[in-house]
Amino acid sequence: MELDAARPDAARLDIVVSGLASDAHTWNLVYLQLVLEEMGHRVTNLGACVPDGLLTSKCGQAAPDLVVLGSVNGHGFQDARRVIGPLRARLAGTPVVIGGKLGVDGAGGRAAALLAAGFDAVFEDADAIPQFRRYVERLSAGVRS
């Protein structure tokens, strides 16, 4: 409530945070949950190794305001390009974003292909978290609950 009082124009968002099918890492997801909760949002954290079908069905049920995918195992690019189609089929207008280390070579530069595949934003630079916070703030300011 304090957070709402401090930012009266910002809406409290329902956000699904999830890892991708082949990625076992969870610290990134634990951290993202805390970041979003401290911004005043409600988080459903699906955890690691979420199969495509489970991700799409959970997102379909939850009807969230935002879906945040995190991946750091190097398979994120492949997993993400595969799952965005089924996700879009369930959540046509919902922002879906992804961040982390998305390829095995650490080179980055996959944002354009993921944006073209249907993601609304990709965060894989050194200052990904500040960029991500600003993105969520803008989204939150534009949504009325």
Partner: protein
């Protein structure tokens, strides 16, 4: 008959006063996998080889593996189930032997196909465990993982009939990579060892991952050895130490110093084997050359290190013993005891998101750089084992997660001494 067993190799190295060093290494293509193993074997150090399985295979997405192989897409490891036994035998031919055992590393909660594939290729050493590859890494219910690991142990132990002595390592000392207090790591390693033994495995290793404080880590490895001696005296066992598994230093000097401290810790505590990390850890999957450099660096640091030295007692052994005994008291069958222990929160891993994990414990790095409980939930520990700490905000969690990285990335060339 020549002893080609993994445990025998480690025991001979220990008798010679040498630490076995081992990388994580897996690439999709058989020729490149073979080249990687050859480079490790030829590194000039007492090394064990590793085939790390890709993460599609780990979670059983064999169609995704096939698609990646067909299209040339990236895989982050060697797809041992998709490659034929003949292919894997050819990868190993002339490399694996008495002086170069090879372990398959995979991370699967349900590893039966992986175990069958490695056995079919003539291998007999792998790692994991019903809790350590379930809670942090999977969505598989603990009870199902327990069944899968019981089957996998039986598959492995059956290989004794062909004259092998299969070896299984518990990954229990590495839960979540970081921020799991030492007593719980030690307890899970010992309990998984007891589970392996119940299911017919008689050569095993127990793990512990370097955490935030060398003194606390030395105490933990001593506790692990003490409990293993008490509970596993009738099987072959050794201790495998892991170089820090958490957020890794980004600078070459920091990453190298952390690796060297882990090698020194291994020697100091009598750990027989070390799984290394490379200077690339913070950035990407390491190359073969980076792995070889890490092996050489670790072996050199180990050769300079002194065994023994004082070990303090801050209660790690008492805590670990309390956890092990409380869990074993839940059922005569170790697998059932593990399932009940997770249900009751007797084993409750901090920050673990698995649906079966109680999620009532928390841990943090205190002002002295030591790992402490801030909430013990239902862990069967004496009251007072938790240190009151600030609520884990995102910033506070990040501070604990990056404590080691920050300490080692400082410009000072030899931190924490």
């Amino acid at each position: 008959m020549t002893d080609r067993s993994f445990g025998g190799f480690v025991a001979r190295a220990a008798a010679a006063g040498e630490l076995v060093v081992q990388p994580r290494m897996g690439v999709a293509g058989p020729a490149r996998m073979r080249a990687g193993l050859a480079a490790v074997r030829g590194a000039g150090v007492r090394a064990a080889g590793t085939i790390t399985v890709d993460s599609f295979t780990r979670v059983g997405e064999h169609l995704a593996v096939r698609r990646a192989l067909d299209t040339g897409a990236e895989l982050n490891g060697y797809p041992i189930v998709a490659h034929s036994p003949g292919t894997t035998r050819a990868v190993l031919d002339g490399l694996r032997g008495r002086d170069f055992p090879v372990q398959v590393r995979h991370g699967s909660a349900c590893p039966q196909k992986i175990v069958a594939a490695l056995l079919a290729a003539g291998l007999d050493a792998t790692e994991g465990g019903p809790l350590s590859y379930c809670l942090p890494y999977s969505r598989v219910p603990v009870a199902e993982s327990v069944r899968a690991w019981a089957e996998s142990c039986l598959l492995l132990s059956d290989a004794r009939e062909r004259g092998a002595r299969p070896h299984l390592e518990s990954f229990g000392g590495c839960m979540m990579g970081q921020l799991c207090p030492p007593s719980l790591l030690v307890a899970i390693s010992v309990l998984e060892g007891l589970f392996f033994r119940q299911h017919g495995v008689d050569s095993m290793s127990l793990s512990y991952a370097q955490q935030t404080d060398p003194g606390q880590d030395a105490e933990a490895v001593a506790a692990l050895r003490a409990l293993a001696a008490e509970h596993l005296s009738d099987v072959d066992w050794h201790v495998v130490l892991y170089t820090y598994m958490g957020v890794f230093p980004r600078t070459p000097h920091g990453a190298t110093a952390l690796l060297e401290r882990s090698a020194e810790l291994a020697v100091r505590t009598g750990a027989e084997r070390l799984i290394v990390k490379t200077t690339a850890e913070a950035h990407r999957i390491p190359t073969v050359a980076e792995n070889v450099t890490a092996l050489v660096t670790a072996a050199a640091a180990a050769a300079q290190a002194e065994p023994g030295g004082p070990i303090e007692d801050t209660g790690v052994l008492d805590e670990a013993r309390a956890l092990v005994e409380a869990v074993l008291g839940l059922a005569p069958d170790v697998g059932i005891a593990l399932v009940r222990a997770v249900e009751r929160g007797y084993l409750d891993v901090p920050y673990c998101l698995h649906q079966d994990n109680a999620g009532r414990t928390r841990a943090f790095v205190d002002g002295d750089g030591r790992l402490q409980w801030s909430r013990i939930g239902a862990l069967p520990l004496p009251a007072g084992r938790a240190v009151p700490a600030a609520a884990p905000t995102a910033d506070e969690l990040l501070r604990s997660l990056t404590h080691v990285e920050r300490a080692f990335d400082r410009p000072s060339p030899r931190p924490q001494e």
